[in-house]
Symmetry: C2
Subunit: 258 residues, 2 copies
């Protein structure tokens, strides 16, 4: 299984600390060495880095650990190939444009016999079940709402229905963002923490590193981190229930569903 990491915040924040721990799972503390990727929204734009080297060996991952790119919505993924060969076009996250916005998607899990009809508006470039699911999601959103983006409540309701349909084919832990909100769906394993005032120190599970967030934040900052398995040993992580699609906006959980 792959590993997912996402961040959603109310002010642009760098993900260096959390990514440092996460990247160690790509080949060192875990066996996810079939590539990795990360996408940062910056305004309406996206910085998208993918690499089919293990995250632990990648010069680009090294750059990201050193260069504090600030973003309000980030999605990262470390890949353990289940479907689709090890190739750049199969590395998550995937990026497409819909309604004049970029959408970023990453998936952990395995879909069996998932073969939806595609109308050609969004077609996979690679051979993963994940990119196929992403193309199908965007196609169905466009089919429902036409050329105009719906409000967030309508989008949330549509995604709940669509995601439930896809999850019937297998494990579908996934993260999706349009740069203004982050949706996270749990089939089997996902947890989150919201870091906010008063900030404390946190110690990484995967590396001997800690950070005192009170030194690098202001009292108004709020940062939600969503990940496959807890990244730190001294924060309280809340586990998603199977079937939950959670929506995070400005670093806060907006609604939950079952």
């Amino acid at each position: 299984m792959c590993q997912l990491l996402a961040m959603n915040c109310n002010v642009p924040t760098d993900i260096v600390f959390s990514f440092t721990g996460f990247a160690h799972r790509g080949g060192r503390t875990d066996t996810h060495h079939d590539g990795w990727g990360i996408a940062f929204f910056e305004g309406a734009g996206v910085r998208h880095f993918v690499d089919h080297q293990a995250a632990i060996a990648s010069p680009i991952a090294e750059l990201i650990k050193r260069y504090p790119i600030k973003s309000t919505n980030v999605i990262a993924h470390i890949r353990k190939a289940t479907q689709g060969q090890v190739a750049l076009e199969n590395c998550h996250p995937f990026v497409r444009e819909l309604w004049g916005r970029y959408w970023v998607f990453a998936h952990n899990g395995d879909l069996k016999e998932f073969a939806p009809a595609l109308d050609g508006a969004f077609r996979p470039v690679g051979t993963t079940d994940s990119e196929l699911a992403f193309c199908f999601l965007l196609q169905e959103l466009r089919r429902r709402f036409g050329d105009t983006a719906p409000d967030r409540a309508a989008l949330h309701a549509a995604l709940e229905e669509l995601v439930r349909g896809i999850a019937a084919y297998g494990t579908f832990n996934m993260m999706l963002s349009d740069g203004t909100a982050l949706f996270a769906h749990c089939s089997t394993k996902l947890c989150y923490v919201v870091r906010k005032y008063p900030f404390a120190s946190a110690c990484l599970s995967d590396e001997d590193l800690s950070v005192d967030f009170s030194q690098v934040t202001t009292p108004n900052d709020r940062v939600a981190i969503i990940v496959t398995e807890p990244l730190t040993t001294n924060e309280t992580w809340t586990h998603f229930a199977p079937g939950e699609l959670k929506l995070f906006v400005d670093g806060a959980l907006q609604a939950a569903s079952i």
Copy 2:
């Protein structure tokens, strides 16, 4: 005006030497400091780097100069903003998917009163005339050929017509690749060189650096470099005629048009 650089080759080749000279135009030997970007095809996948810092000051440009990413099709751009503010979503090259392939596009020039009707299939995320032209090109290709990619000759013919139509609105030097071929259109300024056996040394115009290609190539390698202004002082660069759309495949010029 912005600057464009592209590479098309028959074997995956790194662009470190040419990019090093080119990146110096982003803030040092020239005034193109409103961001930059580069996209490398690797198989069907794309590595896409954009930054709204000047290329000369960008840690990501520094990475690319040090990390030899090998590719058969590369498009790079250094931006001097004419339309659209300095923001990540306005940095070229732009990437979209059509027919299950990624397409990469960059533009140098300025289109006046260019406002084509968009059907919603491809919509700009940023505010540049360039991204609008790219969305229009892909829309029209899809409209002509439906859900199936045409052969290269039909694609070439369609692009000639479409590009001519767009160029009627202003300066439209542009580069477009789907990872298998590179199209380059000249309105005002573009030149190219094909490096092939017997390879010689080349000296950069923008930096005191030379490379002996015979040391880093095999006799079968063939590399076309297409750029706004010659990158080297001791190679023979061929200038495009205004209105020419040239097609490069496997490092060789395929056809020319006026």
